[in-house]
């Protein structure tokens, strides 16, 4: 009886068998033979989509790479305006949401509907948490004028930021003192009082300004390019990398907003997908025989996490 099925009767039997499979599996589309067949096709499809997503983001990663190798000082300056604690917290939030997404797939495969709902809701909640922190970060940047391109009008200098002061307290004190000195000198020059006020300011800044620099300050001609605070190299001063705003500083925020913005759009799309999956789960669509959509949604979500895993050190942890 071990003959192969080539006879019309055999083919008929096979199609009858497939009809039975289709009747048992209401979510099996007519052009697939078995649920497994449908699942594998869907999985291949989502992986091809993820490949296009990786290459889509590659354009921005390329812009980042080119610009960072060309102008590293822009990144040394710009990253100080990002709070690594918020970025780190968002990393943990996304990693946790990846865990709940993976857990959701497991629950769908085993058929734990209640646990599946809990995991999807947790994933959506974490995604909103991520966007909430992103909102706090963005609104802070908007408020400080740290915007891309022509909108770039920063209201703070690098040395005024808490993180810079924590790292280089001496350089921050010096920069502030020099700024005060310069302001006073300009005021004095405007009112024609020559450098009388400068003497008074010098008394105030003396504790923080090194002796060699104080000598320079007494001689107005020698301190002509005072604007160039970062260019002052003094053995008594700490390294001041990232102190002075570089010429193309605004590009950092163009890259920051485009990379995190595109990622944020993907998070929003992910939330929409999860809400759709939640509705279908509640309707009782998923179980051990049909869990493809949950699996594919989770794969997309993991990719969003994967991209953030790289964005976090590239933008927040520049050193």
């Amino acid at each position: 009886m071990s003959q192969t099925i080539v006879t019309p009767i055999g083919a008929n039997a096979e199609s009858e068998h497939l009809d039975a499979i289709h009747q048992e599996n209401p979510h099996l589309a007519h052009h697939y033979d078995t649920p497994r067949h449908q699942y594998e096709a869907g999985k291949l499809g989502i992986w091809i989509f993820l490949v296009t997503e990786i290459l889509f983001f590659a354009g921005l990663f390329c812009a980042y790479t080119i610009y960072r190798t060309e102008r590293p000082e822009v990144f040394n300056w710009g990253h100080q305006f990002l709070d690594w604690r918020l970025g780190g917290l968002n990393t943990i939030i996304l990693l946790t949401s990846s865990l709940t997404a993976a857990w959701a797939v497991r629950c769908a495969q085993i058929g734990y509907r209640r646990a599946l709902i809990v995991n999807i809701v947790a994933t959506i909640a974490l995604a909103f948490g991520f966007l909430g922190i992103k909102y706090v970060e963005y609104s802070h940047k908007f408020h400080e004028g740290l915007l891309p391109g022509h909108h770039f009008a920063p209201s703070e200098e690098a040395w005024e930021i808490e993180s810079f002061r924590a790292k280089h307290p001496h350089a921050a004190d010096l920069a502030e003192a020099l700024e005060a000195y310069q302001a006073s000198r300009e005021k004095a020059e405007k009112s024609g009082k020559a450098h009388h006020d400068a003497k008074a300011v010098e008394g105030q800044i003396a504790p923080v300004v090194p002796s060699r620099l104080r000598e320079l300050l007494r001689n107005p001609e020698a301190t002509q390019p005072l604007v160039d605070i970062g260019a002052i190299r003094n053995p008594e001063v700490e390294p001041q990398e990232g102190l002075l705003r570089p010429k193309y500083a605004h590009v950092f925020f163009s890259i920051y907003f485009f990379m995190t913005g595109l990622h944020g759009i993907h998070v929003i799309a992910g939330i929409i997908v999860w809400i759709w999956l939640l509705r279908r789960t509640i309707a009782g669509h998923f179980g051990p025989k049909f869990f493809g959509p949950i699996d594919f949604g989770a794969l997309y979500w993991h990719l969003v996490d994967l991209i953030w895993i790289f964005l976090f050190p590239l933008l927040y942890l520049v050193s």
């Binding site: 009858e16 068998h17 990786i54 590659a58 990846s98």
Partner: protein, 133 residues
């Protein structure tokens, strides 16, 4: 006849079942313990990358360390959360193709940028000359 055909379809199904050597249905199910272990490793690596960034390692090394840690994290996500270790190898091939083209894209663009460095420098000095009369 009908019985034999049915048996063939059925045995084909069981064969496929064995090829994937899964413990549930037609796809691998990740164990809770492994999932939590991967998550714990990801959190530890996140803390590590923040800690390493606060230590001065010299010019390229901070960047190299950050990228190595990020790649490890990405590897964990792709291998376990995204099931690639148990999946059909064709899906792994697709992923690796994306990475290959990403590297080609970045590598060739970087190479091109170095080629144009003299033009960039010339443009820069011309601009500086124009802005300072």
């Amino acid at each position: 006849m009908t019985n034999s055909a049915e048996r063939q379809v059925m045995s084909a199904a069981t064969d496929q079942h064995q090829i994937v050597s899964d413990d549930h249905g037609y796809s691998h199910t990740i164990s809770t313990r492994l999932m939590v272990a991967v998550y714990a490793a990801l959190v530890v690596l996140t803390v590590t990358t923040v800690a390493v960034a606060r230590v001065e390692l010299g010019h390229p090394w901070n960047f190299v360390a950050a990228m190595v840690i990020a790649s490890l994290k990405g590897g964990l996500v792709v291998a376990f959360f995204m099931h690639l270790v148990w999946d059909r190898k064709f899906n792994l091939l697709l992923f690796l193709t994306a990475i290959l083209f990403l590297i080609l894209f970045l590598g060739l663009s970087l190479n091109d940028r170095s080629e144009y460095q003299p033009s960039i420098d010339a443009f820069e000095s011309a601009q500086t000359a124009a802005s300072t009369p």
